[in-house]
């Protein structure tokens, strides 16, 4: 078994027992990157020099008996998360030259543990997209089929984990941006409860929806990653001061007493039959492990996309006002007036999808339209939250597919933004309600494209997600584990 194919929990043991060093492991992962990156294009920036230094430091920590956890583990980071001294572009031309003067809290936590940061991975510009085709610096490919999208917006994270170009990754999820690419690339993707993980240092897209989450090779690694990055942060006023359990303790066999809710609105005729079959099989396995199935309804699910595509662009139009050519990033230098400089910088710096969402958001918030759009969407958001509250009074977890179908072909939906937005229908409500959700691989289509299984739980009940996801993973023992590259 190649080192780069192993999960964190196996490597952690090998590192602490002295079977391998982090320097060796990091070199093995860089060799892998050199071998396959030409096909995948997962990375925007590689940081070989600092990664090697971090690996050396990790080996010293391990030798001093201070290893374990993520110490010495090579990770990739979505280019939306600020890394001190390492370029952070958000996938946008407008931030191309930006070198953050500070670390995001999650990065500070990873560094504190001794993790090795390999580089920054691709994403849709400012996390706006479901295919990773809206990136100013190349489009990553799906490692399972290079003609297909890897999903988005954390596409580089999912592709780099699936292609073993890192051991695990951090992404961010605003409407499914961790879970959807994880599903398309057959890796585990977690969107934690809103406020569980600090957003300090995450480029803001839609502040009431954004949450950083890990993408990993298996469920145990996901729990290890959340242990490392979760917790209260005074620098993020929306982070929540609530005790952090050891999430790996939730990974036990058997689901006796667990009530598994099946929301009928997630199983419509629009589902691809192969996705439906793989998810049905997953539900049977959870039942086999002792779970009890409860049929229920989330009646406002079909309005989630409409509410989201008002709320998220509205928040984005405000958040992205900061990119004006003054404080960081690209500036159009020919302009003679300040106003002209603002608009020329923004027009040349932003890509089409970002412009589209700024226009939608500004329109929805503008005088005369606010009540019809933003207020209405926020009221529908309340109804979606209430649906979940009712559902969780009857069950512990909700299970469903992550996406209506497997990864589509590159280019297929790029000219039709609405069809792209509609593909987010099964992941969006989780963010509107601030809930935790996880995507676990549960099968492949007849064409060999991955299918994911989504589990949602009530606020701060990640342990239930992990427990159910772990049982599914163990029962299923899905093969193949790695794409042929």
């Amino acid at each position: 078994m190649e080192l780069y194919n192993l999960p964190i929990h196996s490597l952690e043991k090998m590192l602490t027992e002295g079977d391998i060093s982090s320097v060796e492991l990091t070199a093995a992962v860089f060799d892998r990157i050199d071998q396959v990156e030409g096909k995948i294009s997962a990375y925007i920036t590689l940081d070989r020099e600092n990664a090697q230094l971090a690996a050396k430091r990790a080996d010293e920590k391990i030798a001093a008996g201070e290893g374990g956890g993520l110490c010495g583990i090579p990770l990739s980071i979505k280019d939306a998360i600020c890394t001190k001294g390492l370029k952070t572009t958000g996938g946008s031309k407008i931030l191309e030259p930006f070198v953050p003067p500070y670390d995001a809290t999650v990065i500070a936590k990873l560094k504190e543990q001794g993790a090795v940061i390999l580089g920054k991975v691709s994403m849709d510009e400012f996390a706006m997209g479901s295919s990773n085709e809206n990136c100013a610096f190349g489009i990553p490919k799906n490692p399972w089929n290079l003609e297909h999208i890897c999903g988005g917006s954390s596409g580089g994270s999912a592709a780099s984990v699936a292609a073993s170009e890192c051991i695990a990754s951090l992404g961010s999820d605003t409407g499914g941006s961790v879970r959807q690419p994880a599903s398309h690339c057959s890796v585990v993707g977690l969107k934690p409860t809103y406020g569980r993980v600090s957003r300090f240092g995450l480029l803001a897209f839609a502040s009431s929806l954004d949450q950083i989450g890990p993408l990993s090779k298996d469920v145990r690694d996901s729990a290890i990653m959340l242990n490392a990055i979760g917790g209260y942060d005074p620098k993020d006023s929306t982070s929540i001061n609530k005790e952090m359990p050891d999430y790996t303790a939730a990974l036990t066999d058997g689901l006796q007493g667990m009530k598994i809710g099946i929301p009928k609105e997630y199983f419509t005729d629009a589902l691809d039959p192969e996705v439906r079959a793989a998810v049905d099989n997953g539900i049977k396995l959870l039942q086999g492990a002792g779970g009890e199935v409860v049929d229920l309804s989330l009646p406002h699910t079909e309005y989630g996309v409409a509410a989201y595509y008002i709320i998220a662009p509205a928040e984005a139009s405000s958040n992205l006002a900061r990119y004006d050519g003054v404080k960081y990033g690209f500036r159009e230098k020919e302009s003679e007036s300040l106003a002209e400089m603002y608009s020329k910088t923004r027009s040349q710096g932003f890509g089409d999808e970002v412009k589209r969402r700024i226009i939608i958001g500004t329109y929805a918030l503008s005088s005369g339209y606010y009540d019809a759009y933003y207020k209405k969407a926020s009221q529908v958001r309340t109804l979606i939250v209430e649906d979940y509250q009712k559902a969780f009074s009857q069950c512990d977890i909700l299970v469903s597919p992550v996406t209506p179908g497997p990864a589509w072909k590159l280019g297929e939906k790029i000219a039709d933004p609405l069809s792209m937005y509609l593909s987010d229908v099964l992941t969006i409500s989780t963010n509107l309600a601030g809930l935790p959700g996880i995507s676990v691989p549960c099968g492949f289509s007849s064409k060999g494209l991955p299918i994911g299984f989504q589990i949602q739980a009530s606020h701060f009940e990640e342990e239930k997600l992990f427990k159910a996801a772990y049982n599914l993973e163990q029962q299923l023992d899905l093969q193949p584990k790695y794409p042929t590259l």
């Binding site: 595509y309 008002i310 027009s347 589209r356 700024i358 109804l383």
Partner: protein
């Protein structure tokens, strides 16, 4: 049409975006589809429903009024496309 070319031009100006006629043309069709879809929301009766702006109840987050370390000026200025060591420099406003 849900949104006219003039309205797009007006909103673009509010958002400090300069769009070419071709961009406005293609955006008009796309926005029409998107806003048409969003109209789905009017199917739901929301009279008296309280809007949600945050999914979790979060109240004002206060901290103790203690001076802590902050970013040194040169670090904060470092990414500015044009700066003079003390401030960001921009084209003349008046």
């Amino acid at each position: 049409m849900k949104i006219s070319h003039d309205e797009i031009r007006h909103v673009a100006k509010l958002a400090r975006l300069e769009l070419s006629s071709a961009e406005i043309e293609s955006m008009a069709g796309q926005l029409d589809g998107i806003l048409g879809y969003v109209d789905k929301l009017s199917e739901i009766e929301t009279e008296g429903v309280k809007p949600t702006t945050h999914a979790l109840s979060i109240y004002n987050a206060f901290r103790e009024d203690i001076v802590t370390e902050s970013l040194p000026r040169e670090e904060a200025l470092k990414n500015g496309p044009l700066q003079n060591g003390e401030a960001f420099v921009v084209p003349k406003v008046i």
